[in-house]
Symmetry: C2
Subunit: 334 residues, 2 copies
Amino acid sequence: MTRATIKDVSRVAGVSIKTVSRVLNKERYVSDDMRQKVEEAVARLNYHPSLAARTLAGRRSFQIGLIHDNPSPYYIFNMQAGVGQRCREANFRMIIQPCDINSPGLVDDIGALIDQAQLDGIIMTPPVTDVGTALAELFRRKIPVVRVQPGTDLTATSAVYIDNVQAADDMTAYLISLGHRRIGLVTGHANYFASGQRLTGYRQALQRAGIGFDAALIHPGQFDFQSGAAAAEALFALPEPPTAIFASSDEMAAGVLAAAHRMGISVPDQLSVAGFDDTDLAQVVWPSLTTIRQPIRDLGYAAADLLLEFGETIERRQLPHELIVRGSTAAPKG
Amino acid sequence: MTRATIKDVSRVAGVSIKTVSRVLNKERYVSDDMRQKVEEAVARLNYHPSLAARTLAGRRSFQIGLIHDNPSPYYIFNMQAGVGQRCREANFRMIIQPCDINSPGLVDDIGALIDQAQLDGIIMTPPVTDVGTALAELFRRKIPVVRVQPGTDLTATSAVYIDNVQAADDMTAYLISLGHRRIGLVTGHANYFASGQRLTGYRQALQRAGIGFDAALIHPGQFDFQSGAAAAEALFALPEPPTAIFASSDEMAAGVLAAAHRMGISVPDQLSVAGFDDTDLAQVVWPSLTTIRQPIRDLGYAAADLLLEFGETIERRQLPHELIVRGSTAAPKG
DNA sequence: GGCCCTGCTGACCACGCTGTCTGCTTTGGC
DNA sequence: GCCAAAGCAGACAGCGTGGTCAGCAGGGCC
């Protein structure tokens, strides 16, 4: 038994091939009578149109690409889930393309992907969003692009994002409201534009509260567990250590927790710890993390939505974040 | 500027279209002279063959599907990384299909995927591996299938797996060697065949050490954090609680840790905790988890390898696991 | 020298669908 | 009641490849 083709459907329905095609593509000018006959035949034969043939004959491939270079399984998983759901709704397919932003072959790889699969659009996540050569290649091919949390050339493509400045401000203000005055900040990788934005939000909240900025309290990290632990150790070693540490990712916050455990500093009694992202990690460590919920799945869904609804037209959409308070933060004692 | 086609290549190289096709597909009967001319033209035009056209004209689509219904981002991420790498090496593409094993549309969804994309093969991960109706649909279509860690019909398809019995035996034996006699076991979801295998390994190690089996020490879980915490609380409440708890996943082990923290039980002094999988979680919680490293990425790579190398021929491959000792286990005190 | 076999190349068609264009029928406005 | 416009259906070409088959050259055999 071989699979049914559009010919089989047209024969069973007693109409022309083109009419079947019209029904499948929801084109105008098909009578209800015809439409019904075709739909019955499709259901009876369990017919599914060949993507290859549609792509070859038509202008669309019904496929979009998701390009990422992000080490966090949680981020990728949720991103895929969001993009994937929107794709399913539109009967599109999603092609995943992991890449390495430091690889010299990056641009060629992306070009080959688009050529081979004839993608209808591209979604990029940070930090690939800010690789100029890759962006240029996409523009050259005039393919619709949506970037998630882009850092540069904000008006160049469609984009979805959260307000990183406000989010960091919210968390900092919350820690201040608990009574903290010396708040350590573990920043993210410099490649991520969001890192700088979060620093801005942090400073903004301090200033509003009339607390002076102390550069010694800022420590660079790489978004990962190790760098969080290292940053915590450096901050604890200060002459006047912080009573709270705000890490720019949950992974780094987990590193801070581990360092505190090792050094016998109890959380949240002696030290408050806050993260960013609300990955599943946040609820799995002990104590569970106060953090900023970043709606990664929704960002993915929105990115796919922009691509499918607007195509080349440039649109942008900002999604809300949320402050999630859990057990890792408390008022400083004394 | 539109993309180059095989026609352009043939014109530039001064040969027929078919000869270009032969070079691309590494067919026999092409002289070195011709091959070189074609390769130069391909490079000069930066030509990439259209997947759609190849699929339509030929018997292969150069695409394989990865079907999963697994809630763990870490598992999926690494699985994809392994399969993806092997695909890249073979210039194949990987189509991700998340699914819901409880959905009535499961079989239709899988059928539609294969029909639409004309996949050359399918990789399945647990628990989809053991859904009889889905397997039957794949057999009906005579499509090559590789299952990862299948639980049923072991000889029906190609498969890759680790020795779950031995792995659980190894961990249990290790805990016994530390001096533990009462060892709690938090099993996994009943849908996963591996859960039963791990119980077998646990019993096997106990028996070899001459320790009696106590059913009260076995507690069912769902592989997730919550059920791990709940199981730990139940086990602590026993008249004679365990001195060690072996959880069938790192997530559940993290739940055990959290419950212990909440109840003021120190790990590993008063309680040893062991996990399974060696996900990145294992190193992020405190104390870091003693666990069994399951080579998920390698399993994915091997699965894709079997598919690409052997096609319909049934092959199986067992990969090694490894006992990873970290800070969450120690000798029982007293 | 005629034969077949192997190595190599190209002409041509088919794959399953969409885009275009043609032509017929119905509707609506005066 | 006539004509233009809108509604509708189908014939046909072509998308960019791979498969089939025919054809040609050269070498080894009888």
